[in-house]
């Protein structure tokens, strides 16, 4: 069974979101999603200051099998990307909620986070898929 930490929110396209103390959010792909994708070999991240709409395809994760889009879980501006992934994309497989984070976003509206799924809802969602 995939790990679904209780302190995060989740999107239907399998991104997770963590609200930081400074009001930014950190996001990445869920344990369930990395498992489905298989071994990651390349991650293409957006530019800093890139402004994006919710559900916009803003990054690409490439596994040995295929390239998959990563969708912005909320609208906002990219304030930081995980540059370590350039040399170690496998961190997404090994530690999807930690070292495998993708980007940090300044949300357009903090309320957007509340519209995402709770851990319980996400657990049900992946079981029903």
């Amino acid at each position: 069974m995939s790990e679904v930490p209780g302190d995060l929110r989740y999107s239907t396209s399998h991104e997770w979101v963590r609200v930081n103390e400074d009001g930014t959010v950190t996001t990445g792909i869920s344990d369930h999603a990395q498992e489905q994708l298989g071994d990651l070999v390349f991650v293409e991240l957006p530019e800093i200051d890139h402004e994006m709409e919710a559900e916009e395809a803003c990054a690409v994760v490439e596994s040995v099998k295929a390239a998959s889009d990563f969708y912005a879980p909320i609208a906002g501006t990219v304030v930081e990307v995980n540059e370590d992934l350039a040399g170690a994309p496998e961190a997404v497989n090994q530690d999807p909620y930690g070292a495998g984070w993708l980007m940090r976003i300044q949300p357009s509206s903090v309320d957007d986070v509340d519209r995402l799924m709770s851990p319980e809802e996400y657990r049900e969602f992946i079981e029903s898929e």
């Binding site: 298989g38 071994d39 070999v41 390349f42 293409e44 690409v60 490439e62 040995v64 099998k65 295929a66 390239a67 350039a86 496998e90």
Partner: protein, 362 residues
Amino acid sequence: MGNRTPLYESHKAMGAKLVDFAGWDMPIHYGSQLEEHHAVRRDAGMFDVSHMTVVDLHGDKTRDFLRYLLANNIDKLQNPGKALYSCMLNEQGRVLDDLIVYFLTENNFRLVVNSATREKDLAWIIKQAAAFDVQVIEQPQLAMIAIQGPNAREKTLSLFNAEQRKVVEGLDLFFGAEVDDWFVARTGYTGEDGFEIMLPDVEAPAFWQALADAGVQPCGLGCRDTLRLEAGMNLYGADMDESVSPLVSGLGWTIGWKPEARDFIGRKALEAEREAGPEQKFVGLLLEGRGVLRGHQKVVVGDQTGETTSGGFSPTLQRSIALARVPASIGARCQVEIRGKLLDCKVVKPPFVRNGKAQIEL
């Protein structure tokens, strides 16, 4: 539910992730495609390839038939057990399938063809065989296990008894031998040494388990694809199919042009193409920067274009590689379009990796 090989339950018990492959429920990996890839390059891995189609040909005129059916020249097979890789072409010189043929006895040859093309191949072979009075007998009761890697032979041999060992140990590259009702061949599809073993389906699960116990890593079809790509081996349906000739698919070397008197299906069309000079050629590409090449991406060569036929990340080289059909005028470099961006590639000659070592300059 798709077709299942005799090893289906073994795969499930060993934790395989199963996917549909040409109508068969096959393992894609057992946890990590990358780890399985490295196991084959560094030690030993095994693949269930029982979904492939084994066809035996019987009859006094089997050799005559194969002289006509195959683009490669069957007369290269003079010693029993010897194997030959060949394309089977249609009248237009396009590739119906690629296959391996084993010479067993003068009136018995064995073909191993792809699973996705099974029905088409069988219909074609049966149709062509009629004039030669050759019997075409499929062997669906045979399971097939490929064991590949630098330690594959040693680990496999440890499971044979002295009698069997004597037969199998001395096998030369690209030869096979019958051992009781098993057929053991020193062939493969990964660029590593090893065996491909055909055995009765009922015996397959125990042998698979014994191999695992001997330290052979179960591998899925996922890493089989990255291994064969590194080895520069063509995949039917990706790198060639019925729309192209072997001359533009990197398979010119498999055509038995001599003797000129041998008439094989597709010969006339191929000769015409060779005379005119093929407009395209088949090359390897190495992506210079970061990113992943895939099949069916546009290759840009000046004002001309070509296409990658298969591509991916090479776990051994830690770089991205591809096979591509490109304008014959291509030089040492080109660009490939990935998500709207043109990325620089070096043109190289496959294979990329052989026996665990890089064959190209990175």
